[in-house]
């Protein structure tokens, strides 16, 4: 069995199983902890504050006017590489075919050359993100192994993917194998690090937003 065969065969199977196991494990572990009832009288009706929670999911995607001056650039950097990643992961035809083979449905993709441009841009942004994490004193203080490893593994996926499409650094099938293998590793690492934020971000915004709105507080 060659590397490619392993990467997208048994390797991928293990990765998917570990991914599902880990994600469930982590979520169930805290979701089943005690939730205390709130006895104070809400300022808003439940419908209103749950709605506010939903609105927070969207509104928190960009800083409030008061914060833009200090955080706008940083958040823009963060969101833009995320958008780049989504575009490349979801709109590159070989990726769509991969996902189709997993889930059984597909959607139209973008031209490969456009994807290449987007991925090079995303890669550049990703380097900028690391630069920022290392040079910004706050981020450096907060950062731990998780932050750097999650960055590294995502970067690895991008670099091997780009190398495979550009045929740089080795025969295509080996690069493709490394690319898929790095995706396997990413999937397995996913539940054990900060990548879990993909699952957390919207519920977290919604729940905290709703709890603040319950008090009529700013959210």
């Amino acid at each position: 069995m060659d590397l490619l065969h392993f990467a997208r065969g048994p390797g991928l199977k293990i990765a998917i199983a570990v991914f599902c196991l880990g994600v469930t494990w982590r979520i169930v572990s805290f979701a089943l902890l005690r939730i205390r009832r709130e006895y104070s009288r809400p300022r808003e009706s439940m419908f209103r504050y749950l709605l506010s929670g939903m609105i927070t999911v969207g509104s928190r995607s960009w800083p409030h006017r008061e914060f833009i001056g200090r955080t706008g650039a940083g958040e823009a950097l963060g969101y833009s590489y995320h958008l780049g990643l989504f575009a490349v992961v979801l709109l590159f035809t070989p990726h769509i075919l991969f996902l189709e083979s997993l889930f059984g449905f597909s959607w139209p993709g973008l031209p490969s050359s456009l994807i290449t441009i987007i991925s090079v841009l995303t890669l550049t942004l990703f380097l900028a993100v690391l630069f920022r994490r290392v040079t910004n004193r706050v981020m450096r203080l907060l950062s731990n192994f998780d932050d750097y490893f999650s960055w590294f593994i995502t970067m690895l996926v991008m670099v091997t993917g780009l190398a495979a499409t550009a045929h740089v650094g080795g025969p295509y099938e080996r690069l493709l194998a490394l690319h898929i293998l790095s995706v396997d590793v990413l999937l397995m690492w996913f539940p054990f690090g900060k990548l879990m934020h993909a699952f957390y971000i919207f519920p977290s915004r919604a729940i905290n937003g709703a709890l603040l709105a319950r008090k009529g507080a700013t959210s």
Partner: protein, 371 residues
Amino acid sequence: MQRSAEDLVVGEMLRRHGISRRGFIKFCTAAASAMALPPWMGPAMAQQLQNAQRPSVIYLSFQECTGCFESFTRSFAPTMESLIFNVISLDYDDTLMAAAGDAAESALAKAMRDSFGKYVLIIDGSVPTGAGGGYCTAGGKSAVDTLREAAKGAAAIICVGTCSSFGGIPFADPNPTDAWPVSSIVSDKPIINVSGCPPIPEVITGTLLQYVTTGKVPDLDEHLRPKAFFGTTIHDRCYRRPFYDQGKFAKTFDDEGARNGWCLYELGCKGPTTYNACATTKWNGGTSFPIESGHGCIGCSEPGFWDKGSLYSPLSATDWGKAGESSPRQVLELAAGGILAGGVLGVASAGSGRLRQYRSEHPLDPEPKDS
């Protein structure tokens, strides 16, 4: 087959057959072109061959379909006839030779004895080792024994076809005859693999010609294939490549994209992972190649191509398929298993957290009474 002119150098042979020097230069130019060698190599090869002796070649067929030999006979440049008559001395080939039975066997023995240490051994077909080698025998001798014996006196072994190179179809799961490629059985001789199912005719003759003219094993890739023919992927040299780059893909074999000649990636083309000269040398004297005829590459020159999933599933897709099992279903099963196991772990984790909370709030109670 008689070695009628064993002492003659090639140049003299050519003259005897009424082939002029210009004709020979042309022959070598065409061969160099077919082998994707630099164009100046053709005349240089012609010069060298003029004064060389014709080497002895022994062609043995094992567990095979003769497709490779059929391909061999269809080489345009150089043609097999011109090779046999002009450049090499084909001393044993059970398909071509008129002799049969004991006469054939003794011809083989004689060739091996006369040119011991000098002959080129061409192997076609995989070597079955199951049942004591009994799945493929000739004259009471098993293929594996014949190979071992013939290999002893060979200067080099050229494996023609994916079967002798990598095991091929007989080697595919479940490999009932316990077949192996030549390289798994012979390890002490230079081996050149000319893979393909079948290999491109010009690649067979070209490799042979290149070896006999230079006397050296050419540059080989990690699968022992000559880089001159197997150095780039089909995808790299494919005339449909611009459509891949533009993201234009045929979705079915009869849609608008297919009629427009768009990229066949989505239809399972294995071009990106297949190393062969199909896109440049092409087939039938440069007429066409599978992709040009509208079908994706099936990757036949790659090791294990038969076991790498459906010929029609895209390269980037997973290859979990056994017949009747869909990937989405497997994903669902894997996910369900993972979620179940994760759920158990999660409940255990949250449970122990709650127990701790309970203990710290009720330090005097030995056991929790409610949850």
